[in-house]
Every structure is written in structure tokens, then in C-alpha cells.
């Protein structure tokens, strides 16, 4: 279960540290709202979300209760555009530990907040890795996994957003 390395310093007392990094297994359900997003992504390569019956706002990820109006969001699903504008972006220089993967990795793709063409914000990765070419305002388009069997991970079915040449 655990292996520890006594912290022997040249002088002074020895201090012990107990190391523990066993993975803890979990099973998470999407529920029916996020499940609808998964279904549309897998079957139709579409990005959808639900719209509030009262304020007509679209929230991503979908939610059963409107955060603004506090009413039941219902089942009014809307297809979202697959093109947008990069609003903010960042990229990792050093690898960081990802607890879901259980190791350090540096995502080679920059992570961006994209303003989809209907005014909804969406965070995803962008394909452009050349730092010189990255800028706020660039136009991007979703690129999906083409293989049907590889899809089924919800929004991870979108590989990244590719720059559209203006």
C-alpha cells in the first residue's frame, strides 16, 4: 500500500514521511441532461444544450435548474454553432499533475474560452500550437473524432478547435 523513505538529513533528527498515491476508483454518471449532450455528440457530431423557458438563456454544461431564474430548465434542446471566436487562451509550459490520469502531463494544445457564434461561452482546446499565431479574436471551428466507435466521451468527442483562415 505505501512505501516511505525516511528523510535522513546530514545533521539533525530523522523525519519520516509516509507516501501514498494509490488510485481511488470512482464511477461518475452523466445523468440525463449531460447524457443528452453525449448522445448528440456520438450519434450526430453535434453540440447541444438546453434553453431556459423563462429567460431563454443557454447554459453550458446543461443544467436542470436555470441559475438565473431558478426555474426548471425543461427539455428544450438547442443545437449550438460549431464555430466561434477565441475569447481567452492559455497554454501550459510545464507538466501539471492530472488526478484523473494519475500522472503529470502537459496538454500540448492550448486551452481556450471560445465564444460560440450564438453568444455562448465554451471552454475547449485549440489546435494551434504555434505561440506566435495565437491571438484573442481568432476564428475557430470544431473538429470531431471521425470514428463512431471512438466517440462516446461527451465533449471530448471534439478533438480541438481548428483555426479558420480568415
Amino acid at each position: 500500500m505505501s512505501k516511505e523513505s525516511p528523510n535522513k538529513k546530514a545533521e539533525g533528527p530523522e523525519y519520516i514521511r509516509i507516501k501514498f498515491d494509490a488510485p481511488r476508483p470512482y464511477n461518475w454518471s452523466t445523468g440525463k441532461y449531460l447524457g443528452k449532450v453525449y448522445a448528440e455528440a456520438k450519434e450526430n457530431k453535434k453540440l447541444v444544450s438546453n434553453r431556459c423557458p423563462q429567460c431563454k438563456e443557454i447554459w453550458l454544461p446543461p443544467t436542470p435548474v436555470c441559475p438565473k431564474c431558478k426555474v426548471d430548465m425543461g427539455w428544450d434542446w438547442v443545437e449550438l454553432p460549431q464555430t466561434g471566436t477565441v475569447y481567452q487562451y492559455t497554454y501550459l509550459v510545464y507538466p501539471l499533475w492530472d488526478p484523473h490520469f494519475g500522472e503529470k502531463w502537459a496538454n500540448p494544445y492550448p486551452s481556450a474560452t471560445i465564444l460560440l457564434d450564438n453568444g455562448v461561452f465554451y471552454r475547449h482546446w485549440i489546435e494551434e500550437t504555434d505561440k506566435e499565431k495565437l491571438r484573442v479574436g481568432m476564428r475557430v471551428q470544431a473538429v470531431w473524432k471521425e470514428d463512431y466507435d471512438e466517440r462516446g466521451q461527451g465533449v471530448q468527442d471534439i478533438l480541438y478547435f481548428r483555426t479558420i483562415e480568415a
Binding site: Q88, L96, W97, P99, H100, N107, S111
Partner: protein, 389 residues
């Protein structure tokens, strides 16, 4: 009418990067003993013990159970609070509610984090909903990197301004014996040469991972005056949360976002008759995870107008000798044991009001101070502290 609540005991550990010589409970015990000594009380006098900690960082579930003896909670009521970055502030708010309700006369509130026991970014990334945002392992630093970019692009600020904030924080931290990072920076070039971590945040732009604990003893009005010569009154508390759906969690170039800080400040200032924060309040200890966010917060907390935050640092207004000192303790960017960090803001603001901050005491008389807390996704807690009500 709720009862008045005062801070009558303040204690913190000497915050540092790694502590091999104590276990997590023992580290917390140091802060508890310091707070009790400051209040000249014994643990027997305390009626309830409230602690705050973000468990995933240390990977110890229910740490308050394991340290019941070390915090003197054995046999006493109390519970642990975890609200992300605002954990410490939430626990002070809990203590405030308890004493203000009249059910408790003396409460001990503790915030702690022993971050050498885990990996902070990993723990924060574990907060991402795995069915939606898996693989977005940028932790908090990614969000603040995006905020920095947004501020850089829209406000007219330059990287030099962020570096000036870092220099201020380090100068102040070097005068604070409890602070963690004391780099001895001489000029902003040293900051501008540090490498990028998550673009455009540099290594020096972001707060460290510290080990430390901070404890406060809160007392009701009828007990406070008999305990400490200089009780510091918690005049008001405001807590505002926000859903994580919005894109610009910390930075918004469109100017259309409603930020929790705006909402919280509007309410707090209105209730307390504050119309010009820089004049009506004497100093502030704000929760700034990065130097860029400090510039942002100057604007969101209404210390200046939009897009003017960088002018405050350029003119030296927020320096310790300035007209409106901000973070004379060195702030979060010098010391960040996350569960304790907001309590340290309250503790440092209280020390300034008392005149007990030692080398980093502000020269002018501090009668009113503000302490803030910030947590993902942009939750805000504000405290207004006063020497007399």
C-alpha cells in the same frame, strides 16, 4: 438584534514550504496555542471549535476528527468547513454567526493547510466535473492565466505593472516574520526574468504552496472587553457566490460580467455608509492569488475605476507608506496555506488595527480595515473590521 462580535485572540504559525517536524494536527496545535496565549485564555474557556481545510490537498478525509485533541475540540461542539479558496473566510463567518446568535460567547476558528502533503494543482483539478471537463488539468493557475491575459489585453496595463505588485508584496513580506516567501527582490527586472509557468503567468506571478495554520478567538461583546485590551470588532460580513457557467471566471474583456466582488461591495458599502472606499476605509488585506488579480481586484472592490487598477500601483498608492495600503503582510502571493489564507487576511487586518503588526505596521492610524477572500469560481467573502463600533 444580533450580538456584536470581536476578535480577542490571534495566532498563526511561521508559514513555510515544508514542515517535516510536525504532523498536520501538530502544526495546527501551534496556531491554536498562539491564539489562546494572545487571548490569555485556556482551552477550557472555548465553547466551540470550527475549522476549515481543503481535504483533497492533503488527502486526509475528515482531518478535524483526527486532530480533535490537538485543537482542544475533544468533547466540544464544532464542525469543519470547506468552501474552496474561501474556506478560511467561511470558517470565520461561521464563528461570527455562532457568536452573533448568542448561542456561543467564545468560539475558536481555525484555518489550516499542510500543502507539502499533496499536490495542489492535482487537488484543484480534481474539482473539475470529470464527465465534462476531464483533461482540463490547469487547476487554478490556468484560470488566473486567462485572467491575466484578459487584463493585459484590455486595461492598458503592462507586464511591468504586475511586476510592481510582486515587488510590493515581497518588500512587505520581508518585514513580516510569519510570511513564507521572502525573496529579497530588488527591482521589477527580477520579476520579469522569471520563467512563464502557464502563459502569461510567470513563476513569480503566482502564489506559493505553503504549510501553515491560523487561529482566531472570537468573543461576544459581554466577554470581549474583559479578555483583551484591544478587541477588534467584526463590524460586517458579506458572502456572495456565483455559478461556474460563465466564461470569464476571473477576467472579462467584454465588461458584461457581473462579478461577485461588485455585488458584495455594493451591499457592504451601502450598509456601512461607505461612499469612497479609499477614504472611508484605512487599509485592506485582499486575497490575490496572482499579482494580475490584485490589479483586477482594485477595480472590482471599487478602490478605483475600471481599467485604472494599474495606475494605483504605478503611483504607489497601495504601498505600505501609501495613501491606501493594500496587503502590508505580503499578501497571498507571499504566503498561501490555502485553508488558512483568508483567516490570515483577517488576522493581519486585525493586527494593523491593534497596532501590533511589528515591522510591517502601517504608520498611519488604522481604525477601519477590510479583509477579503476569493475562491473558485469567484466566490467572495468580505469582512469589515473596526477598532470601535
Amino acid at each position: 438584534m444580533p450580538n456584536r462580535v470581536a476578535i480577542v485572540g490571534i495566532g498563526q504559525t511561521y508559514h513555510t514550504g515544508s514542515r517535516d517536524d510536525v504532523s498536520q494536527p501538530e502544526m495546527v496545535a501551534e496556531a491554536v496555542r498562539a491564539a489562546l496565549a494572545d487571548a490569555q485564555l485556556s482551552i477550557k474557556d472555548i465553547e466551540g471549535v470550527f475549522s476549515g481545510n481543503m481535504e483533497t490537498f492533503e488527502g486526509i478525509y475528515l482531518p478535524d476528527h483526527g486532530m480533535a485533541a490537538e485543537v482542544g475540540a475533544f468533547g466540544k461542539p464544532g464542525f469543519k468547513v470547506n468552501t474552496g479558496g474561501t474556506t478560511g473566510a467561511s470558517v470565520v463567518t461561521e464563528g461570527f454567526y455562532m457568536v452573533s446568535s448568542g448561542l456561543y460567547d467564545l468560539a475558536l476558528v481555525i484555518g489550516f493547510e499542510k500543502q507539502d502533503c499533496g499536490d495542489t494543482t492535482a487537488a484543484i483539478s480534481a474539482a473539475a466535473v470529470p464527465t465534462w471537463a476531464k483533461g482540463a488539468a490547469t487547476g487554478a493557475i490556468g484560470e488566473f492565466a486567462k485572467q491575466a491575459l484578459a487584463y493585459l489585453e484590455t486595461s492598458g496595463a503592462k507586464e511591468e505593472h504586475a511586476a510592481m505588485v510582486r515587488l510590493k508584496a515581497d518588500r512587505n513580506a520581508c518585514r513580516n516574520p510569519y510570511a513564507h516567501l521572502k525573496l529579497g527582490l530588488k527591482n521589477i527586472d527580477e520579476v520579469l526574468q522569471s520563467p512563464y509557468l502557464v502563459w502569461p503567468l510567470r513563476l513569480m506571478d503566482f502564489c506559493p504552496q505553503s504549510c501553515g495554520a491560523c487561529a482566531l478567538v472570537l468573543a461576544s461583546e459581554k466577554r470581549a472587553k474583559n479578555i483583551h485590551k484591544k478587541p477588534v470588532w467584526i463590524a460586517d460580513v458579506e458572502v456572495v457566490h456565483q455559478e461556474p457557467f460563465r466564461a470569464g471566471v476571473f477576467g472579462d474583456p467584454t465588461g458584461k460580467e457581473t462579478y461577485t466582488q461588485h455585488v458584495a461591495c455594493e451591499r457592504l458599502y451601502k450598509r456601512n455608509g461607505i461612499t469612497n472606499p479609499r477614504k472611508d476605509i484605512d487599509m485592506a488585506e485582499i486575497y490575490e492569488p496572482s499579482n494580475w488579480e490584485e490589479l483586477n481586484l482594485y477595480e472590482h472592490l471599487h478602490f478605483c475605476d475600471k481599467n485604472e487598477g494599474w495606475k494605483l500601483i504605478e503611483k504607489g498608492i497601495t504601498e505600505i507608506e501609501g495613501e491606501f495600503p493594500v496587503n502590508p503582510s505580503g499578501g497571498v502571493i507571499a504566503t498561501n496555506p490555502i485553508g488558512a489564507t483568508p483567516i490570515i487576511r483577517v488576522a493581519e487586518a486585525a493586527l494593523q488595527i491593534r497596532g501590533d503588526a511589528g515591522e510591517h505596521q502601517i504608520a498611519k492610524d488604522i481604525k477601519t480595515a477590510m479583509a477579503t477572500a476569493l475562491g473558485g469560481p469567484n466566490w467572495t467573502v468580505l469582512f469589515l473590521l473596526k477598532r470601535s463600533l
